[in-house]
Symmetry: C2
Subunit: 435 residues, 2 copies
């Protein structure tokens, strides 16, 4: 077996066997199959696709390219949530403490922002002292102690995915449903979970721009879960406009804290409760949606969700005083408002353009090696459906650098459309797929 | 413009502009576009194809990735011949001195063997002292002095192709018609030619296994020639069985010398004359095929072709005494014959299997970095159409290593089929394409 044989087979539309895929992933992880061979294979797989057996073999080979967590010592049901990523998507941050307060153990491993989408790790690290790089023992200990841990992906888990993802990012092979599905599911399967809730974002600001693709991705991931006897629920949620009002890092933490305090924007709260309800039902802590939502509401009202967040911040070296005083978070030096060009209703606030504008301000990364500025970001002051008067601010740019402002502002202007008549808004939850 | 943008465009079936292709090849040659990005692009181009404008832009960008020869000081018409490669294909070696003796300047740049196909450079280097690595000045001087030079590709000519070819070889992206055509034509265009004759091999032992593909490749290369006002004639010639009787390196030189001496196997002589006739007509040294063949025959009969070969061997540091005494060429220590399993007629002598058997003996390279053994090889003693008695030798293996013999012999056995009734043989020249 040689890499070229396997590349040629996939190039010509053939089907790779389980043994061939296992050989390929193993030798790519060890380095004896080169990046340039794997990128040719990825492009062939992107265009030719994988059948179901190839998809499962690819996922299995990725899963076993490194360690798999053993969280059997944790007595609570272990449920994680994963989002395919969007703009202003800070749902994990209020959601994890809320469900942990209800009795779920959440071993959450998140990523960093790239391109127009932000990353949970970047946001959490704006909390003074908060550390996301945890060794496996610390990870398991914090999970056992607090029912919740918010960390980066361990380097020993699914190393093949770490290499593959970086390669896909540089070679135009990211938006492939089997490659996305196997990447996400191999990482989640390595977390030793009892259940998984997926938030599949749909729209301009997401990988999946239409519902058909999003459904196919959801079906694919639920199918992988089924073969591993992992119960998976996927919700398809709208990502045509930023979720909530804040896009950035420190400002998204402040908005997350507002949700835990019982406030926060309606769309963000709606998605958080919908995902939380699924997690509680998967954990068998609630028998139906209404009961689950009542438990989540109680965790907010009693302060136990906020308390859980304080616990995990403290366990991970952060300063929990930010929860009472968001002024302790990094703050940009300057602010500038974007005025409405005319009176009417906001009909469009394009998530992709807002995300790219935030990236240009310094809130995100154009390349993986870029450093982010934790303090900068965009606040959406008028969302689709809102009436505005000409000159009234649509959004606020918080920035530290005039040059970056000059690059970001024109994109933000293009993100908004104001019309005389309001446009109908689709629902936030577009569909669901269950095991 | 980024590499990822261009990869995504081709991945999704788009058309790259001239500026985009120029940017890509320039930045790949300089190293700022990486191998793993280019291999993803090559696979996308392999599957999606190039349209005519992309093909020309790709060829043009390759051509100008390095130096272009200036052979304007050479007064004779400059005509080269290129073969797409086959088993036992030593045609260049007798052909170049034959046409040079008739008044053509032949600035021949050849390659090394890889896989089942041999390389002209490897064969020439079995002549004691013969050097194929020439700097551009020496190359031009020998060409002016003798009308003939037989060298390796200069590293300053078409460096993009050097990098790309190595990458394609390792990533399963070799047998793509636009990539093959642009690779060959960019190198030939850099030679400052007045005309080019292509030998497109068709059959089991060639890149192009069927006539349709071979015709498409020929059309593509002739079309590229047309845009550069380079007259190109492509002959499609049969490569289902080794050309001539010798497959190896030193033994192929001995067979080439036999052709120059007026002998040699019929099929080899037929292809050599057909290509030579086209070269003389392109050079306007002969008005028709019959005149051209008469000139070639006269160059053999008068000894001027043999004398021309002696001149170029001497000019390139080799020992011309091999022409009178082929015993000066390297010789393998051992020989073993393969007997016919039954009486009848040889119906198949599979070029690919013979080529691979010769490679296993050490005559060729499995990987580019392998060293070859110049002395070993295979002699075909009974070719398709020949009657044989059971036990009569079909082929002779000349070898230096018992272990290699054991790997090669079973493949050679599989290469032959003997049947009671002879099979019809297709003609050697299958077709032609002209500017």
């Amino acid at each position: 077996m040689t890499a070229v044989d396997l590349i040629e087979k996939k190039r010509d539309g053939g089907t790779l066997s389980e043994a061939e895929i296992g050989w390929l992933i193993k030798n790519y992880t060890s380095g004896s199959v080169t990046d340039y061979q794997m990128s040719a294979m990825l492009m062939a797989a992107f265009i030719r696709g994988f059948d179901e057996a190839e998809l499962f073999a690819w996922t299995e080979a990725m899963l076993h390219s490194g360690d798999v967590l053993d969280l059997s010592a944790v007595e609570m049901p272990k449920i994680d949530k994963h989002s395919t990523g969007g703009v202003g998507d800070k749902v994990s941050i209020p959601l994890a403490p809320m469900v942990a307060a209800c009795g779920i153990a959440v071993p959450m491993m998140s990523g960093r922002g790239l391109g127009h989408t932000g990353g949970t790790l970047d946001k959490l690290e704006t909390i003074p002292g908060f550390t996301t790089g945890l060794d496996p023992d610390t990870f398991a200990r914090i999970l056992s102690d607090t029912g919740l841990v918010l960390a980066g992906q361990s380097s020993t888990l699914v190393p093949a995915d770490r290499k593959l993802y970086a390669l896909r990012d540089a070679t135009g092979t990211v938006p492939s449903i089997p490659l996305i599905a196997s990447s996400i599911m191999s990482k989640k399967l390595a977390e030793d979970l009892d259940g998984l809730v997926l938030d599949i974002k749909v729209g301009e600001g997401a990988f999946m721009e239409n519902q058909d693709d999003a459904h196919e991705l959801a079906d694919t991931m639920v199918g992988i879960g089924r073969t591993y006897e992992l119960e998976v629920v996927a919700l398809l949620t709208l990502m045509d406009t930023p979720l909530g009002r804040e896009v950035g890092n420190a400002n998204e933490i402040a908005e997350s804290i507002a949700v835990l305090a019982g406030g926060g924007p309606d769309d963000l709260v709606e998605v958080t409760y919908a995902l939380g309800s699924e997690m509680l039902q998967l954990a068998k802590l609630a028998g139906d949606d209404e009961t689950a939502r009542g438990q989540l509401r109680a965790a907010i009202d009693s302060g136990s969700a906020m308390h859980k967040f304080a616990e995990v911040i403290e366990a991970q070296g952060g300063d929990p005083r930010v929860l009472d005083d968001p002024g302790l978070l990094p703050k940009a030096r300057y602010q500038e408002d974007l005025p409405a060009p005319s009176s009417g209703f906001v009909t469009v606030c394009d998530a992709l353009k807002v995300g790219l504008a935030a990236m240009r301000l310094g809130a995100g990364r154009e390349r993986k090696e870029d450093r982010i500025d934790p303090a900068v970001g965009i606040t959406i002051l008028a969302k689709p459906g809102d009436p505005v008067d000409a000159g009234q601010p649509l959004a606020r740019l918080s920035f530290n650098d005039e040059g970056r402002l000059a690059m970001a502002r024109p994109l933000l202007e293009q993100a908004f459309q104001v019309a005389a008549v309001p446009a109908a808004r689709p629902p936030m939850i577009l569909g669901e797929v269950r095991s």
